[in-house]
């Protein structure tokens, strides 16, 4: 009896035979991508391509060169400590947006907006809606002071911290509700939420769902949501995260070749242990001058605050275009200087 097989005799090839290199055909170490079949395979991250958001000018050429501008329909977060140049960038962004005849809104959590310097920065007030959160009573001396200065531990009484926390939560709640209303209303080219003076512990308590809600509301709209904070708070909801640091520039008019005193913030943990040092001729370090001014600065009325030397770093960018470099510097000018 002849045997028969239940299964037809077919030549069975190994499933990976098509992609596996034949013996001896590929040298060891040659990348798999060189194999013709694998070049047609697309990575999973590229399968669903989202359209790149439209970019608008931030008002600062260096930042536009670094990031391409600010993305529409996305949340951009700018963080930095006090005197790091965040508000200067905010003014420039508002000026650029109002020049484009776009309606802008500023949700001012601590009521810190300075109209005179904003006018000097050419912000168009006709297009700017200013919302001043909190009442004048809430923004009283003690609460504002506790918000703004000295975020190190141990400097304040518990009563002061609690008072600031209660007031801050009321004002912060107002700010989030107002921001939500503005985003839901739609039609604004730029909405800015200034949390620059809100203590970290309060800002971090903003639930992530709030940030998600903001981000989803402005998605597919032409609105730019710009958030100013001390430290990053929006986490993954921010499409662009910039960190700013600054050095102030003080100058003496007619000083000639003498370099202006520049005070650098500390950049490393080692630096943080020591106070910031002075640079510039004839100036002593802060350690040596606890009570006196630098020797070359004998007359304070001959000194001028020229501006801030601002350093901006891209900490995160989810945009299509990745910056070639992540750091840029520029300088702001004080209005009365020069």
């Amino acid at each position: 009896m002849s045997s028969f097989s239940f299964f037809p005799q077919v030549s069975v090839r190994h499933p990976l035979a098509a992609v596996l290199p034949k013996k001896g055909s590929v040298r060891v170490g040659e990348p798999l991508a060189a194999i013709p079949k694998l070049t047609e395979v697309k990575p999973a991250s590229r399968l669903a391509l989202r359209p790149a958001p439209e970019m608008v000018s931030s008002g600062v050429r260096e930042i536009d060169t670094l990031t391409g501008g600010l993305p529409r329909g996305c949340l951009t977060e700018v963080c930095g400590s006090q005197s790091s140049g965040r508000t200067s960038l905010l003014f420039a962004t508002l000026a650029a947006a109002t020049k484009r005849q776009e309606a802008c809104a500023l949700v001012d959590v601590n009521d810190v907006f300075d109209p005179r310097l904003a006018a000097a920065a050419e912000v168009g007030f006709e297009q700017l809606l200013w919302v001043r959160c909190g009442s004048p009573v809430e923004n009283s001396y003690s609460s504002a002071r506790t918000f703004r200065v000295g975020f190190g531990a141990g400097k304040y009484s518990e009563a002061g911290k609690n008072f600031a926390r209660q007031r801050g939560e009321t004002t912060l709640g107002q700010a989030l509700r107002v921001t939500d209303l503005l985003l839901q209303s739609g039609g604004f080219g730029l909405v800015t939420l200034d949390l620059g003076d809100v203590p970290l512990n309060m800002a971090r308590r903003i639930p992530l769902t709030s940030w998600f809600r903001f981000q989803r509301t402005i998605e597919h709209t032409p609105t730019v949501l710009l958030v100013i904070t001390l430290e990053p708070c929006a986490q993954t909801c921010a499409s662009l995260l910039l960190k700013m640091q600054a050095q102030f520039l003080g100058a003496r008019p007619g000083a000639g070749d003498e370099k202006p005193p520049v005070c650098s913030p500390p950049h490393s943990a080692q630096d943080r242990k020591a106070p910031a040092r002075w640079k510039g001729s004839g100036l002593r370090s802060a350690e040596e001058v606890p009570k006196k001014l630098p020797a070359s600065g004998g007359f304070s009325h001959t000194e001028l605050l020229e501006g801030l030397h601002i350093q901006t770093e891209v900490l995160r960018s989810r945009l299509e275009r990745k910056p070639a470099r992540s750091l840029t510097t520029f300088t702001s000018q004080s209005v009365c200087a020069g």
Binding site: K99, P136, G187
Partner: protein, 533 residues
């Protein structure tokens, strides 16, 4: 040339039922006069069936079951009359205000616009019913025939040309004197005609003209001409001043805002319908609420509206609010929402007895949209959003700002945020200047409001150490200082100012922060005004 007449039977009753339509199914009587001598002035059909007649006293009608009694309201009658005129003028530009309850329109040339005469008459009746009034409409070849037909026939009547005498002959003689019921001479003439055995217009029309002239004079001849439907006169067009007002008087004072919102909704619907009839919108709404006086609290200032114009008919027990809109709008729902938000933020403080709502007419805005215009919020949505935000942070803390012509610190004022429609002027315009380079970027200041009191240690007249002056332990070494720069002003005013400004850099724990330090020379105190950022 056809004419149409709109007649509202029992007009005082209809004017009151317009604001209380739920009572239409019940017997309704209107009283006139001062208590206790009030008498029934007008009744509706249901009340008539119950045996209530004009002239009865209040005491006589009170025992009637299911009878609603209201005092006569001249203001509501005027409002209803104005609404009727608006409705008529939406059909024809030539309208005569014949009587409080009678309007005559010239329909010449309208057939090509609105269709045949019976359709025009039907549309008229339907439009009047949307105003909350039940009307009788008649169309005839001359105004007086139309008036007699509207008064005599119920529903919608169209008298073909040449048949006026035949159609009117069936009507009773009383329709000739409907608008002169209190005239003693008219009563005598009517009595004379009755004594002659005449009851219908046709009987009067058949009498010889000379005999009528001999017995009743020219007045009798005129009445006979009317009865024949042959009177020919021209319309006296009436130009109604554009006053869009709605009012309602409440039987019981209102305490809650929710029922007030229901009434406002109805009034706004009527106002918007009247504005729309004239192709107008509104940019200002004025709400006046008469409050119950005995609930006013002594010594408490009632909130008043922003409208400071003299309003003589509103004594101090009135609570007024004015809504000024950035652009002319005609959306009743938006108006209602804005009024609700405003009343929540500024409650009246006492029960409400009367509501008076006025709309200032304005031309509707014309918007030219385009593909390349910058994004801007819709005015209706923006207005609602601003009202909600004002309810959260306060009305004076949201808006745009304007700098004042002064060097005084904080020299600015808040003003309502109004988006100018300048997109058409600058739409498509390229940015006229390039974005700022770093050389032009302005160093910003974050202002402390109010400024923070500080204690400053001086060395040789320059600040070297700054600390808080109230309780909290904060201080920092001043590692760099520039100043002082002195400024002062308003010394000719009661509140002058004089200050020295310093720019300082303070050593904090981990960083150096730049502040603006100010010395108030008049009060002798140090203040931290803000941080440079």
């Amino acid at each position: 040339m056809p004419y149409a007449c709109i007649f509202i039977p029992n007009f005082p009753v209809e004017a009151l039922l317009r604001v209380e339509p739920d009572l239409r199914a019940r017997g309704f009587a209107v009283l006139e006069g001062k208590a206790p001598l009030q008498k029934v002035f007008a009744v509706n059909q249901n009340a008539r069936r119950a045996g209530v007649e004009p002239g009865m006293t209040k005491v006589q009608v009170e025992p009637c079951a299911d009878l609603v009694v209201r005092p006569r309201s001249p203001f509501l009658e005027n409002t209803a009359h104005a609404a009727l005129l608006d409705c008529a003028q939406s059909f024809s530009p030539r309208v005569e205000d014949t009587a409080q309850d009678t309007i005559v329109l010239d329909l010449a040339g309208l057939e090509t616009l609105f269709g045949p005469l019976h359709k025009v008459a039907g549309d008229l009746a339907r439009r009047v019913s949307t105003l909350g009034l039940e009307a009788q409409v008649a169309v005839a070849e001359n105004p007086d025939a139309a008036v007699l037909a509207a008064r005599g026939f119920s529903g919608v009547t169209v008298i073909p040309e040449g048949e006026a005498a035949e159609q009117l002959s069936r009507l009773p003689l009383e329709v000739l004197f409907a608008d002169q019921s209190t005239d003693q001479e008219s009563e005598l003439v009517l009595e004379t005609l009755h004594r002659w055995g005449l009851r219908r217009l046709g009987e009067l029309a058949r009498l010889p003209e000379i005999a009528i002239s001999e017995r009743l004079g020219q007045r009798g001849v005129y009445l006979q001409t009317l009865a024949r439907g042959a009177a020919a006169r021209t319309l006296v067009p009436f130009e109604l001043p554009l006053a869009f007002e709605e009012a309602i008087e409440l039987e019981y004072p209102l305490v809650l805002l929710e029922p007030l919102a229901c009434l406002l909704s109805r009034m706004l619907e009527q106002l918007c319908a009247r504005l729309e009839a004239r192709a107008l919108a509104t940019q200002e709404l004025r709400l006046a609420l008469e409050l119950q006086k005995d609930h006013l609290v002594e010594g408490v200032e009632l909130p008043v509206g922003r409208d400071r114009r003299p309003f003589p008919q509103h004594p101090p027990s009135w609570f007024r609010r004015t809504l000024r809109l950035p652009v002319p709008l005609l959306d009743g729902k938006v108006f209602l929402k804005l009024l609700q938000l405003d009343l929540k933020a500024h409650p009246p403080g006492a029960p409400i007895r009367k509501i008076h709502l006025t709309a200032e007419p304005a031309r509707p805005r014309a918007v030219q949209n385009g593909f390349f215009l910058p994004p801007s919020p819709e005015p209706e949505k923006l207005e609602l959003t601003l009202a909600k935000i004002a309810g959260i942070v306060g009305g004076d803390r949201v808006g745009s700002l304007a700098l004042l012509d002064t060097h005084r610190p904080e020299g600015f004022r808040m003003q309502p945020f109004v988006l100018r429609e300048s997109a058409s002027e600058s739409g498509g315009k390229q940015e006229s200047r390039q974005e700022k380079g770093s050389a032009e970027l302005v160093t910003a200041l974050r202002i402390f409001r109010p400024p923070l009191a500080a204690k400053v240690t001086l060395f040789e007249g320059k600040p070297t150490y700054v600390s808080s002056s109230q309780g909290e332990a904060w201080g920092g070494e001043i590692v760099w200082a520039a100043g002082p720069w002195r400024s002062s002003g308003d010394w000719w005013e009661t509140e002058g100012w004089s200050r020295d400004e310093w720019d300082i850099a303070v050593q904090e724990e981990t960083t150096i922060v730049c502040y603006r330090l100010v010395r108030d020379l008049l009060r002798g105190r140090w203040l931290l005004e803000g941080t440079y950022d």
